[in-house]
Symmetry: C2
Subunit: 345 residues, 2 copies
Amino acid sequence: MGLDDRKLDVLRAIVEDYVATQEPVGSKALVERHHLNVSPATVRNDMAVLEEEGYIRQPHTSAGRVPTDRGYRLFVDRLSRIKPLSPAERRAIERFLIGAVDLDDVVHRTVRLLAQLTRHVAVVQYPSLTRSAVRHLELVPISTTRLMMVMIADTGRVEQRLVELPEPTLPEDVLELRQAINEKLAGQRLSDTPPLVQALNDEVPAPVRPAMATLSTVLLETLVERHEERVALAGTANLTRGGLLDFHGSLRPILEALEEEVVLLKLIGEVEPGLPGAPGLRIRIGDENEIEDLRSTSVVSTGYGPGSTIVGGMGVLGPTRMDYPATIASVRAVARYVGDLLAQN
Amino acid sequence: MGLDDRKLDVLRAIVEDYVATQEPVGSKALVERHHLNVSPATVRNDMAVLEEEGYIRQPHTSAGRVPTDRGYRLFVDRLSRIKPLSPAERRAIERFLIGAVDLDDVVHRTVRLLAQLTRHVAVVQYPSLTRSAVRHLELVPISTTRLMMVMIADTGRVEQRLVELPEPTLPEDVLELRQAINEKLAGQRLSDTPPLVQALNDEVPAPVRPAMATLSTVLLETLVERHEERVALAGTANLTRGGLLDFHGSLRPILEALEEEVVLLKLIGEVEPGLPGAPGLRIRIGDENEIEDLRSTSVVSTGYGPGSTIVGGMGVLGPTRMDYPATIASVRAVARYVGDLLAQN
DNA sequence: GACTGGCACTCGTTACAGTCGAGTGCCAGC
DNA sequence: GCTGGCACTCGACTGTAACGAGTGCCAGTC
C-alpha cells in the first residue's frame, strides 16, 4: 500500500497546519494554504487513505483531520528537516550560558534556557556520577569521630557525605587516608572504583583500617551502587499553553509524573543511537512513551557531554502536536553548547 | 459594630463547611450540619451582617456564601485552633526524614514530605549561606592556574567554585593559602567574613597575594554579596486538585511565578515574629500576598534551624480555601523535625 | 428586642429543540 | 486518476422554558 508523494505532501501539510493552528484541518483549507495543485475532493480521497493507514484521524464525523502519533512519527522520520536556529536564538543560548559560576548554575541555566527556547517543559540531568571520573576526594574532620567526605568529579559535580567513624581517628590519620584514597582513585572513572576501593581496604596501614572500611562503605553504597542521579526541571508553566486542549484536559497526571525523579531520568537518561545525522537524539511520540501518564506527550531528548563522550541527558516534553523540527534543533543546539562548555573545564 | 459570639460561630461554620465541600454554603445547610440552635432565617440575618462587614460574600445572588480573604484572616486569627497531628502523620514525618545522606537529600525529602502531608505546593529554602558559619574551606588544585574552591558550611551546605588564578601557583602555596584562610574564617558566620577576608589579603605572604586576591574576590562576590540562596519545590500537581475551581481557572500565572527562585524566596524567606504561640510562623491569605500572581493563593511559612536559630524558611502554598489549622500544624511540625535533624550535626 | 415562619424573588443550571455550517463520502462525468 | 456536485452527519451555537437553591423582607410570636 504505497503512499505516493502527494499523499505524503498532504500528511505533511496536515501536520504543519495542525501544529500551527491547533485545529482540525479540512480539505478545503488545506488546498488553499498549501499550493497542492489538486482539488479538495482529491485531497479528501488521499485523506481517506491516510486515515485508513492510521496516520490521521477525525475527532468527530464532521470535523477536519488531526495527525495520529503514527502520523507524527512518519512526519518526523521522513517528512521534515531540522530547522536551523535563528541568529537570535544562537545569541540567546550563548548569552544564557556565559557567566555560570558552578555546575549547579550551568544546569539551572541550561534547563531554563531550554524551556524558554522550546516553550515546553525542559529536563536536564546532572552529569552522571557513574560516567564521571574522580578528580579529588577530600576528607574534612568535623570531630574526632566524624568527618565530611567531599568528592569532586571531573565534570565539576561535587558530592558530600557525612561519615560517622567507628572510633576516634587522629587528624594525621585522616590525612593519610585522604592521600591513599586520592592516589588510588584520582582520575578513575567512578564505575571502575569498586575493586580499587576493595584493594584500598587492605593496603592501608592497620590502625586506620576500621575508618577506611567505613569510608569505603559510604563511598560504594551512596555514590556508586545507588548511583545518585539528579535532574533539574523547568517550564512546567508551558504545559498550560494551548489551554487544556492538549493532554485531554487534565494536567494532573503529567505534573505528578514529572515530580518523580525516576520518571524524569527515564525520559532523558537513556540515550540511544538516534536518527542518522542527529547522533544521540531520541524522540518519543505519544504512545511510544513507556510511562503511562505521559502517553499524551512527546519527548525529545539527547545526551550531552564534553566532546563525543556522554555524561548525561537533557530534553523537553510537550504536547504531541509540537513543532518537531524547531524543538529538535533547539535541543541539539543547547546540548552541543553545554558539551562545549564542559569540555573547557 | 461588634460581632457577637453567634456571628463568629456562623463565620467559623461557613469557613469549615466551605473548606470541606468547596461549595458556597447556604443558611439551611449550615443549621443542619452545625447545631446552631437557631433557625435558618436568623442565620441569614447574621450572614447579611457578616457580608456587610466584608467577611463573606455571595458569588451570585442565588448562591450560598463564601468566605473572603478577610473572613479567612479572622478565622485564622481568632476562630481556629491548630490541629494536633495524628500519630500516623508523626510517624510519616519521622520515617521520611530518617536516612537522608546529605543536605541535598534532607531538603528534597523535606519538601516532598511537606507536599504530601499538606497536599499543597511545598517550598523549602536551603540553609542560607549568610546565616551559616564556615566550617571549612578547601582548595583543590586542578592545574597550576586553576583550582576548585569548596566551602563547607556548618549547616552541611557545600558550595564550590572554579577559580582561575592570575598566575601559576605552586601546590605548597595553595596549601599555605588554604591554611591561612581556614585559620581566619573557620567558625565565622559568613555575613561577618568581608572584613576578615580583607585582612587576609594583607596578612598573607607576598608571593601568594595575587592568588589570594582572586580567591577573596570569588569568595565575597559569589558567596557573600550575591548571597546564593537556593530553594526546592514540590507538589505542583496539587494545584490541580479542586479541578480549576480555585485560582479562578488558570494555573498559568501561578506556575510561572513558582518558576522564579526570587519569588519562592520571597514567599518563605522572610521570617517574622508570627502568631503568638507559633513563633516564626507567617500566614498570607490571598490579597495579603505581595506577589500579584499569587493573590488567589495562601501561603503558610515558617523559619527553621537547629535549636532556636533560624537558617532558612519553608512553607506551603495552596488555595485560599485551605484547611488552615491542619496546614499550620504540618508546617510547624516538619520545620521542628528538620531543625532537630540539623541540630544533630 | 430577638427570633421565626412564610413568601415572593433572583438567577444560575439543566434540558430540549432548532438552526447553522464545516466537513465529509460517494458518485457520475471528464 | 482527477473533479464538481450533492446529500448527509454532527458538533457548535442560540433561545426558551422549567427547576430549584438560596436569599431578603415582613409580619407575627415569645
